[in-house]
Assembly symmetry: C2
Homo-oligomer: 117 residues x 2
DNA sequence: CAAAATACATAGTTATGCAATGTATTATAT
DNA sequence: ATATAATACATTGCATAACTATGTATTTTG
């Protein structure tokens, strides 16, 4: 009994991390559409506001990929006290790309609703 | 101009295939909740009804993973004419697992709506 | 009778999330 | 005073899953 439950739970946990592939990119770009934020803040905020937990080892490589793809840029902001923060900004290419992604996401959501009735 | 557009398009295409990770599992299990189907039929039907295209090289390994995890079972059905078809059926474990997945998916959808306003 | 459609399947490539680990600074608690 | 936790960014290696290309075999269509 317990064994089967644990088996299920690990499957669901693995699935959740698979669902994040792509989804996290979409979430980050969406939030950047209306805000500038730095990494640590973003991870904490998303954890508080939503069901989504993002590991640091996921977030920083993700942002570097988005920078390499020219979808976001970044700037270091010195603090009066404390460690400097790296803020991320959506580029024009990022905005254009996001629009295409939003269109696909909406279709996908509708499709899944249709399928699951 | 064209160059940038193509760059964007390949990024979006790669992103779409990343979004499918996990999502396809969810879709398959949802559809199996109310139907039995065989592979080729499922791929074609989903293509007609939704925005989702599933490569055969994605589908068959996916179903074998789900069988290995005991979420689905399968049975060969001989045809009066033509190649036999392998039908897939949701198991009890599959039903339980799907309920957990549906709960997470709903939270995720809501979160994304909240984030993108 | 050749080509397309039906039907299932696998190997290798590619991309991404995560745990573990690292560096460095600042705030808090004992 | 000083150890611990919190803040802040970052990388390495592993596991997982989608896709392309390819394969087999049968049936239908042009």
């Amino acid at each position: 009994m317990l064994y089967i439950y644990i088996m299920n739970e690990t499957f669901v946990n693995k699935w959740k991390s698979q669902v994040k592939k792509g989804t996290l990119t979409f979430i980050v770009l969406n939030v950047l559409q209306e805000n500038e934020f730095y990494g640590y803040e973003f991870i904490e905020e998303i954890k508080k506001l939503t069901a989504i937990e993002i590991a640091e080892g996921t977030f920083y490589p993700l942002m570097n990929r988005l920078k390499k793809e020219n979808l976001v840029s970044s700037k270091w902001i010195e603090q009066e006290s404390g460690i400097p923060r790296k803020y991320y900004i959506l580029t024009e290419t990022g905005k254009d790309t996001l629009i295409q992604m939003q269109s696909y996401w909406e279709d996908l959501s509708k499709s899944i609703k249709k399928i699951s009735q």
